[in-house]
């Protein structure tokens, strides 16, 4: 249970600067300075930091979507699910077809698994709906269902609820906690909301920009993560703690 789901060893990323400016030998943008990070299997880790501090880059390197410039990423066996900031659905396909995509791409029939995944995110009955017929929150649920459909061991989420209104976000947060408890996933959740990070995660990794790096790694100890916990003192205290670290780092 305590095996590492993800291990980063000296992982860094430098993007070559776009225009080869004359004269000045530019070294490019260091999106992430050499970083070590171990994520325990089954844990829920949030990554917070101001925009441009390399959160997405870090997550994409974990997913294998961006190759690191140096260092290496180790990932435990098993499927990976990725949820983008926007729902990223195919507009020409129904909720069910969108949800079944990861299976369809590996030649597996998803006609049972996809409706089941949709039901788990509360979208039973919307299998035949097209994305434009769904609200933003529902589209995000389809996106989460699609990430779940392969029964991933590791779920990577890049500011998935940033574009949603607060009420919808709270609901999806509650749902996500419930799903995480049910499924035993390892979740890495990127957000720029301290409150969201503290509410969801057992561990908050704080990042800082120029160059992107990890400046703090805080264990969050919340007695309960029920919707009511958002009003508790324990919650407010933890938020203040993370906030102080984040401000100190900036």
């Amino acid at each position: 249970m305590n095996a590492a789901a993800v291990t980063l060893r000296g992982v860094a990323k430098t993007f070559p600067s776009a225009p080869p400016s004359s004269g000045t030998p530019s070294s490019g943008t260091t999106a992430l300075a050499p970083t070590d990070l171990t994520i325990a299997s089954g844990s829920f880790v949030a990554i917070v930091g101001p925009s441009g501090c390399g959160k997405s880059t870090l997550l994409r390197m974990i997913a294998g979507l961006t190759p690191p410039s140096t260092g290496h990423v180790e990932r435990a066996e098993g499927a990976v699910g990725f949820v983008f900031q926007s729902p990223t659905l195919m507009p020409w396909a129904t909720a069910q077809e969108n949800c079944a995509l990861p299976l369809a791409l590996s030649g597996i029939d998803g006609s049972l698994a996809a409706p089941e995944a949709l039901a788990r995110v509360g979208l039973a009955g919307f299998e035949g709906a097209y994305p434009h017929e769904l609200s933003g929150g529902m589209q995000m649920r389809v996106s989460i269902a699609r990430a779940m459909v392969t029964s991933p061991r590791l779920l990577l989420m890049d500011e998935p609820f940033a574009a949603l209104d607060e009420l919808t976000r709270f609901r999806l947060n509650d749902d996500l906690i419930a799903l995480w408890k049910q499924n035993g996933w390892t979740v890495v959740f990127v957000t720029h909301s301290i409150r969201e990070a503290v509410f969801l995660a057992e561990r908050v990794v704080v990042m800082s920009p120029r160059p992107g790096r990890i400046v703090a790694d805080i264990a969050v100890d919340l007695p309960d993560r029920s919707p009511a916990a958002r009003l508790s003192h324990a919650f407010t205290d933890q938020c203040a703690r993370v906030s102080a670290v984040l401000e100190g780092a900036a």
């Binding site: 994409r60 997913a63 294998g64 979507l65 990976v80 990725f82 983008f84 926007s86 990223t88 195919m90 507009p91 020409w92 396909a93 995509l101 990861p102 369809a104 791409l105 590996s106 097209y130 994305p131 434009h132 392969t150």
Partner: protein
């Protein structure tokens, strides 16, 4: 309702004014025939004119189908490599900006089959919007969706069929609507330049012949048939486009009350 009614009313009004003007001023039919005379010419020459129209439309549709097949193929190839696009796209533009009448004489010398000559010229007129629009569509594929396909190990063929082609469909259909009209125009221009005559000649050839003989009513009848065909092609492609995109694309969304 008014979308059909208003233009139709306007058209009828213009025709009435035309008829009245020709009658009142006593304009001879070899200068300006009245709509009633054109209608009569259309009726009396119907079998002949429809045969000509069939020849013209045969070339038009063959050219359009060829333009779709080659245009999409060329766009997919150009989209697969920036180097290929930079190298070859200027020649697609060249194809577009060159007036086909100036190329026609060469094609007529090089190719003996008249159907092939017309086909080539009409294809040249029609293919560019397909290439450029499809290419634009292929390059506008959502980056996150591309990443998603990569994450789940999609092959190049899967990415093409399940992602690139569906997402460029609205762009392609926009190009197709333009190309449909251009294929007809290209065919007509080619027929006029190639100077086809006889029973296998298209409607443009008959229009020229009729005008040489000062049978202006017949020439106008040919013109009317060609215009109607152009409108028909546009309407058909518009319908096809709406049908294909109805479920998912903004452009074809049925207006809600």
């Amino acid at each position: 309702m008014s979308r059909v009614l208003l233009p139709a009313l306007f058209g009828i009004l213009v025709l009435c004014a035309w008829e009245a003007a020709v009658r009142v001023m006593g304009v001879p039919a070899y200068i300006m025939p009245a709509p009633s005379a054109i209608l009569a010419a259309l009726a009396s020459n119907a079998p002949d004119l429809l045969a000509g129209l069939a020849v013209t439309l045969e070339v038009t549709f063959a050219a359009l189908i060829l333009a779709v097949a080659t245009g999409v193929l060329i766009a997919v190839l150009l989209a697969s490599s920036p180097l290929a696009e930079r190298t070859f796209f200027p020649y697609a533009v060249f194809l577009q900006v060159t007036p086909i009448v100036t190329i026609a004489p060469f094609i007529i010398i090089w190719v003996s089959n008249i159907f092939a000559v017309l086909l080539i010229l009409a294809w040249m007129a029609a293919v560019f919007p397909i290439i450029s629009n499809t290419l634009l569509g292929l390059k506008s594929v959502d980056r996150n969706l591309k990443d998603l396909f990569r994450l789940y190990g999609a092959s190049r063929a899967q990415t093409l069929w399940k992602l690139s082609l569906p997402s460029c469909l609205p762009y392609f259909l926009g190009g197709l609507r333009i190309s449909g009209g251009l294929a007809l125009i290209g065919t007509v221009v080619a027929e006029m330049v190639a100077g086809t005559s006889g029973t296998r000649s298209g409607l443009a050839g008959r229009l020229l012949e009729a005008s040489y003989r000062l049978e202006l009513a017949t020439a106008f009848a040919c013109f009317a048939l060609l215009s109607a065909s152009g409108l028909g092609i546009y309407a058909a492609l518009q319908w096809l486009s709406r049908r294909l995109l109805r479920r998912w694309h903004e452009s074809a969304r049925e207006e809600q009350v």
